[in-house]
Amino acid sequence: MAVMAMLIDVSKCTACRACQVACKAWNDLPGEITVCAGCYDNPPDLSPDTWNRIAFWEIDEGERLHWAFRPVRCMHCADAPCVRVCPTGALHKNPMGFTAYDESLCNGCGYCTQFCPFDIPRLKDVNRWGQGKATKCTFCQDRATNGLVPACANACHTGAIQYGTRLDMLTAGRERVTVLQSRGYAEANLYGENILGGLGMLYVLTHPPSAFDLPENPSGGLATAWQPWIQALGGVAVGATALGLVLNWLIARKSIKAEEA
């Protein structure tokens, strides 16, 4: 199966929020009472019921102001920290490349919300006793696995969100970066080609990633060490101890009986 990806070209985004609405409509997410934060961001943050939203930045370019927009949602990292720390497999990688989610398996631990370098997953808390379910953009896994275009890409009328094989998206992204550079965006770049094993959500950026609150070089941090090493260490340490004790018991039982007799 070909690895699929989305290419988000921020230079074509008009912040119309059609993707935001399409995401809510397809995934059956209710609207929320929102707040005015003194800017166009609405709602101001992702939530269990908002998996995709347009964020706004005003980039000071000296003589003029550049108004930048970016849809914020799950980046679908190939080596996803959330998948590494998810104890139940609720978050897992689909062969099509995206980070799939099976809500019925989620036990509500919330690790994914704390290990994601992009701060994407949100936990739908039920109570303080630990009941809850994680939420995030699923790449419209029900659509994608059935050969349909994800709802946001389907709704985007400016072509800012494209969907296709990752190889095609990389080619299109590189071409677009060249075009933008020739049009005066000297710092235009393709974001996500190699980050965390390669992102499934690629961005054509007109400015450095930091201008869009994207980390230059994010890593899984402790998550990378946690799952494979700690789990192995646990098995080896506890197993070796148990083995040593069995050995001790076998020897002590005989030798100490012999001494008593």
Partner: protein, 220 residues
């Protein structure tokens, strides 16, 4: 009363209560924790609503676990402080214990074993591991329970990491403790002491000679 003279009272009601409440809480926490930590369990039993239930039981166990040191202090402050003093007192004799331990615990050869206090070196080490792990468990556990989204991300991540490391250290030491207090042929008196408070005088004399001397001279 002739029978009583052969037995020594070594563990108070408060000490025994703290020990067994801790044990009960620990068993519950270890089982529910393993269900989240070991992939085979977490991906078969501890998923979905099962996982939510496991995490609920883990938190109930955590409350009992946190109550233990508090109740120990309330029920027997003197005993608690004496314990703390004992586990923080280390000397050359502890090195002697370490040298003599293999021959002793495998072959029953006690010729090289220096006289031990109320807790021998191994018991002191286990008590210390329990105390350190307990602090780590409680602090990191509370961070994970109440701190998600409140504390910085690095603090949450380190809490998960340290909670896991404590579990590994504790699980390994617990196996040794269980072996030496319940199974090992030389240690038949220890379990009785922790259940009923009384230990055979002969056992104390043999296994904790230094403590026995103190008891005889009225220092304890």
């Amino acid at each position: 009363m002739a029978e009583k003279r052969k037995e020594l009272y070594v563990f108070s009601v408060g000490q025994r209560f703290a020990h067994w409440l801790h044990t009960a809480a620990f068993v519950v926490l270890m089982i529910t924790g393993a269900m989240l930590y070991i992939p085979w369990f977490s991906q078969s039993i501890a998923r979905g609503d099962g996982g939510n239930m496991v995490r609920l039981v883990h938190r109930i166990g955590a409350i009992a676990f946190i109550l233990v040191p508090i109740l120990y202090v309330v029920l027997d402050l003197k005993g608690f402080l004496a314990d703390m003093k004992r586990i923080l007192t280390w000397s050359k004799e502890d090195l002697g214990w370490a040298k003599a331990a293999p021959a002793y615990y495998f072959m029953g050869d006690d010729k090289a074993m220096p006289p031990q206090d109320k807790f021998n070196t191994g018991q002191k080490l286990f008590y210390l591991v329990v105390a350190v792990c307990m602090i780590l468990f409680i602090v990191t556990g509370l961070v994970m329970w109440f701190g998600r989204g409140v504390v910085p991300v690095w603090m949450f991540q380190w809490s998960v990491f340290l909670h896991d490391l404590s579990t590994i250290a504790y699980a390994a030491f617990f196996l040794v403790h269980f072996m030496l207090s319940v199974v090992h042929p030389l240690m038949k008196g220890a379990l009785n002491g922790m259940i009923f408070g009384w230990m055979p005088e002969e056992y104390v004399k043999h296994h904790h000679a230094k403590y026995y001397q103190k008891l005889q001279s009225g220092k304890e």
